[in-house]
């Protein structure tokens, strides 16, 4: 049985991720895992009007900020593993954008930690999405949602 502090796995990268492989990393950790929650954020096709998203990030700070959020989750919930992967660059509709995997002995901790990570990522991690439209018209930067900022309030 492996015990001791859980070190979150954080990655910001161009390449796609392999959901099953990332889950296996956490279930094969040697810790007593009973529940694994994954969140995959996927590029919507906006009814065919979107050609692609361009994901810009602040190199260095993006990784550091995700790591800070992940460490906070590890402090708040009894997790056995936590992985966050955020892609950058050009992402086509139906492609993956972001992955969170939270593992724990118990389901509630896994659910809450994954939801917490996503709420904080949306509002605190330095990434910006620009849309490229299918009709070739100039892309617009995606507006931040009020609901995303409001979602943080529930975590106190």
């Amino acid at each position: 049985m492996v015990t001791g502090a859980v070190v979150p796995l954080v990655s910001v990268r161009l390449e796609d991720f392999d959901l099953a492989a990332e889950v296996r990393k956490l279930t094969g950790s040697g810790r007593d895992v009973g529940a694994v929650v994954t969140f995959s954020g996927i590029c919507r096709d906006e009814s065919g009007t979107l050609a692609a998203l361009e994901l810009e990030h602040y190199p260095g700070m993006a990784e550091a900020e995700i790591a800070r959020i992940a460490e906070e989750a590890v402090r708040r919930w009894p997790l056995t593993g936590l992985t966050v992967i955020h892609r950058v660059g050009r992402i086509a509709p139906r492609e993956n954008i972001v992955l969170v995997v939270a593992a724990s002995a118990h389901r509630q901790a896994a659910f809450e930690a994954a939801a917490f990570l996503m709420d904080y990522l949306k509002s605190k991690a330095p990434f910006w999405k620009k849309e490229h439209r299918a009709d070739g018209s100039a892309g617009a930067w995606v507006d931040a949602k009020e609901t995303d900022a409001a979602a943080l309030d529930q975590w106190g």
Binding site: L55, H86, L121, K122, F127
Partner: protein, 84 residues
Amino acid sequence: MTRLVYFAWVRERIGKAEEEIDLPDIIETVADLLGWLKRRGDGYENALQYPDVIRVAIDQEHVDHRESIAGAREIALFPPMTGG
């Protein structure tokens, strides 16, 4: 010299991704910096027209506009984030 870095539409409107600036001593806070930068030209004026929406990080940590910039090596200006 302080390194300023810009992202997303702040970067596009200012017309550059980064610059090194010797900031005058009268600039004490983030709010002072935003007000001062805004007068550096049309691109800055356009980017920083509504300073309240601009998010700022000092040395890669989020700060609010009342924060002192004393000792800052890198100050980043960017719109509200839309990752995830």
